[in-house]
């Protein structure tokens, strides 16, 4: 497990945080790291012809632009590459397609990406989508988890020792839990299972809703203990918590309380066909504010042996 990592980068300074995590994991896990940059096509594409100003003749661009990309990547990550065996891969096309293509071809265990492509102040992020379209499409279709790095990592020297897994009892979150468990077992981390009873549903905030809320909290705990915990095969470093509140608020609070260095979540919350589901708002809100990487898990492929 975790032998092959794919770091998809735009090579801008904004990807630096994700780069640090990628190179660190490569070293810690002695994994094979692929660094991929997909050359997006800004205008009509590279099948164009241009007129040579000296000769007036029509010319086709030669494909050494991919070599230029490789050179640029080597320059950008020069400091990291000194101690790394990472393989630089370049491609032309639609970024998400090429990322998925390489991930599938190499059967990578994890894709690492930065959350967005422009560095900006916290306030500016307010009315923008947190996850860019490339990230969304990759997270939706990837057969392996996508680890999203938004902030400078807080505990990179002990990746990972506290893994928080959010569960909402959906299929996707079961895959998320199993993946989190696999990882925790592999690296000897504490695994913290967490569920938030969503108080915005069905009038639970009203005084009359209090008994219902208590009931929900009990039910959630029972479900975790009877249906989920057994799948963790007695992993002793597991804890369980059930809180009430708005899920993304509570999971962030919980992650802070547990000093999480990774949050693992289902890609989407409802029971929807994974091929159709869009990245959930809970994941986005967590990615936005989390000070540790967030792994989005959509498909069960990487935990098929545990299902």
């Amino acid at each position: 497990m975790f032998k092959k990592l794919l770091f998809a980068t735009t090579a801008s300074p904004v990807c630096d945080n994700a780069a640090k995590v990628a190179f660190d994991l490569e070293m810690k896990w002695e994994a094979k790291l692929f660094i991929l940059h997909v050359l997006g096509i800004p205008s009509r594409g590279f099948g164009l012809q241009v007129i040579d100003v000296r000769t007036g003749e029509k010319e086709q661009p030669s494909p050494d632009y991919l070599e230029w990309v490789t050179e640029e990547l080597k320059t950008t990550y020069a400091a990291f590459l000194e101690e790394s065996n990472a393989q630089i891969v370049t491609a032309v096309g639609e970024p998400y397609r090429e990322i998925l293509r390489l991930a599938r071809k190499e059967d990578v265990d994890m894709i690492l990406m930065g959350a967005h492509s422009r560095d900006e102040e916290v306030g500016a992020a307010r009315h923008r989508q947190v996850a860019g379209s490339t990230l969304r499409r990759v997270a939706k279709a990837a057969r392996c988890p996508v680890v999203i790095v938004n902030r400078p990592c807080t505990t990179c020297w002990k990746l990972f020792s506290n893994i928080v897994v959010g569960t909402d009892f959906s299929k996707a979150s079961e895959s998320a839990m199993l993946w989190g468990y696999k990882l925790a077992r592999e690296v000897g981390a504490n695994l913290h299972l967490f569920h938030a009873v969503d108080i915005t549903a069905e009038g639970l905030t009203r005084p009359a809703g209090q008994p219902v809320l208590e009931q929900r909290l009990l039910e959630a705990r029972r479900r975790i203990e009877h249906h989920l915990l057994p799948k963790l095969r007695g992993y002793e470093k597991t804890t369980v918590e059930v809180w009430e509140g708005i899920p993304y608020v509570e999971i962030l609070k919980f992650a802070r309380a547990r000093q999480a260095d990774l949050i693992v979540m289902a890609h989407h919350t409802r029971e929807v066909d994974p091929e159709e589901a869009e990245l959930g708002s809970t994941v986005e809100e967590v990615v936005l504010r989390s000070s540790c990487p967030v792994a989005s898990v959509n498909h069960p492929d990487k935990v098929a042996d545990l299902l």
Partner: protein, 178 residues
């Protein structure tokens, strides 16, 4: 006119009279901060007027963090004050040209600006807090911006600060060592 001041003890003052109840009706008023106002004063205000705590889902947690902080001397060295300001910035490709308007809380030392996102509340509470200007960011240039005086209302102030604070999660962020 239509102005509300906030005193260092967190009390709202309107037309020289303290606001006892119905604080929500002042949310649209221009806000001015009295001398001596700090981030701690902000939390005192929230405690005085509990209705404000419902304005943002992160406020209850922020209050918890605040209550867990020491009663004084919560000020990071090297930061003279906190400033709350508004930015208007044009963004374009990819996408259509649009104007983004947003608020930021930052640290100031003289004319220097610094981000406070990575600092815990314990290091910010007793820093003087002032309302700044409107920055018109031109060409994405953050080094040399146009500044204008403008009006901030109480809602923007409360909400904007909590938005910022909702990002202040963890203590230290490491410098990666390879």
């Amino acid at each position: 006119m239509d102005t509300v001041r906030i005193a260092p003890d967190g009390g709202l003052i309107r037309d020289s009279r303290p606001v006892a109840d119905e604080p929500l009706r002042h949310l649209g008023s221009r806000v001015l901060l009295d001398p001596g106002f700090t981030l701690r004063s902000f939390f005192r205000m929230i405690e005085r007027y509990p209705d404000f705590a419902r304005l943002n889902v992160f406020l209850p947690e922020c209050l918890e963090l605040y209550r867990a902080c020491p009663a004084g001397e919560c000020a990071a060295p090297g930061i003279g004050r906190l400033e709350f300001y508004k930015t208007v910035e044009m963004s374009g490709f990819p996408g259509e040209p649009r104007l983004e308007i947003y608020h930021t809380l930052c640290g100031r030392e003289g004319e220097e600006t610094c981000e406070v996102r990575s600092l815990p509340l314990e290091q910010l509470l007793d820093l003087p807090l002032q309302i700044g200007k409107l920055k018109h960011v031109v060409f994405g240039d953050r080094v040399d911006v146009l500044e204008f005086d403008t009006v901030f209302n109480l809602f923007e102030f409360i909400e904007g600060i909590v938005w910022q604070l909702s990002f202040h999660r963890s203590p230290k962020e490491c410098a990666l060592r390879r």
